[in-house]
Symmetry: C2
Subunit: 169 residues, 2 copies
Amino acid sequence: MEEIDRAIVAALTADGRLSYTDLAEKVGLSVSAVHQRVRRLEQRGVINGYTARVSFEALDLPLTAFVAIRPFDPSQPDDAPVRLAHLPEIDSCYSVAGEDFYLLLVRVAGPLDLERVLQEIRTSANVTTRTTVVLSTPYEHRPPKVALDPAGPHRVRGASAESAGSQPG
Amino acid sequence: MEEIDRAIVAALTADGRLSYTDLAEKVGLSVSAVHQRVRRLEQRGVINGYTARVSFEALDLPLTAFVAIRPFDPSQPDDAPVRLAHLPEIDSCYSVAGEDFYLLLVRVAGPLDLERVLQEIRTSANVTTRTTVVLSTPYEHRPPKVALDPAGPHRVRGASAESAGSQPG
DNA sequence: AGTGAAATCGTGGCCCC
DNA sequence: GGGGCCACGATTTCACT
């Protein structure tokens, strides 16, 4: 039953432009039924949207780096994410536990751009930076093992199907 | 001219299922012309493919962590990426400069799963791990500022296509 | 929830500019 | 490289189950 939803999500993560016709064939249902299920997956928020995957090399952004940041003055209000949002070189911003406050993923054209972006990060958010350069990317954005909650991300009650439950306490 | 390619890539990263009709309207070209340009962008490798964006919360993978790994015995051959590829919880694997050898992005259902995955990483690749838990994600996978090379990443005149990027020296 | 059919619209090849 | 045309296929809705 929801086996089919898993198959649909897996197929659409592999190829986001799959037609409903092809999708229907893959999962062994009629076109209408598949269409209906996709609509439900979208409005439940399981599928958030669709994007084209771009080659960062082709976009002249061959250099990737992780930048861990820490406020220069920890007593100041911490709004680094919004202060940094204007920098297009920042792909992602994670708030993390541990010694650092945030971990940024940045993509630039080369070392000189990285230097410039680091300076902009430091001055924009009043932080210190610790940078880890990515040398190569064996794999990235692999499709997750799809294990659907029966009714989406709602109801915080029961533990889920797999792996005996995320944190009981 | 290539201003239009930038607009196309930007539009398709924002919505990968945009029809050529809508795309044509957005960039102010005919449907045929847009179709032609998208085909070229695809075969030049600027656009690698299309995927559905899924909510990891909805997929019951609410816990994200970065795992830095380092070989237990640095004299052994280093094939950690292939030894770890079978673990579906690993979203991405980056080879990095710095103290660690690789940085992994993992997504799991909760702390207990994280513990299990860390054990599997250590035993599968014979490495030590240092884990940074993600508390929240202010933003992720933002569309890059699109700056197209005139003819894609091809022919760098002697150097190979990859990493021949822009360090003017 | 799934099916099949029907109207609408998008797609993908061709030819002309 | 852009525009327009046209046959085919995909999308989307509806009545039925």
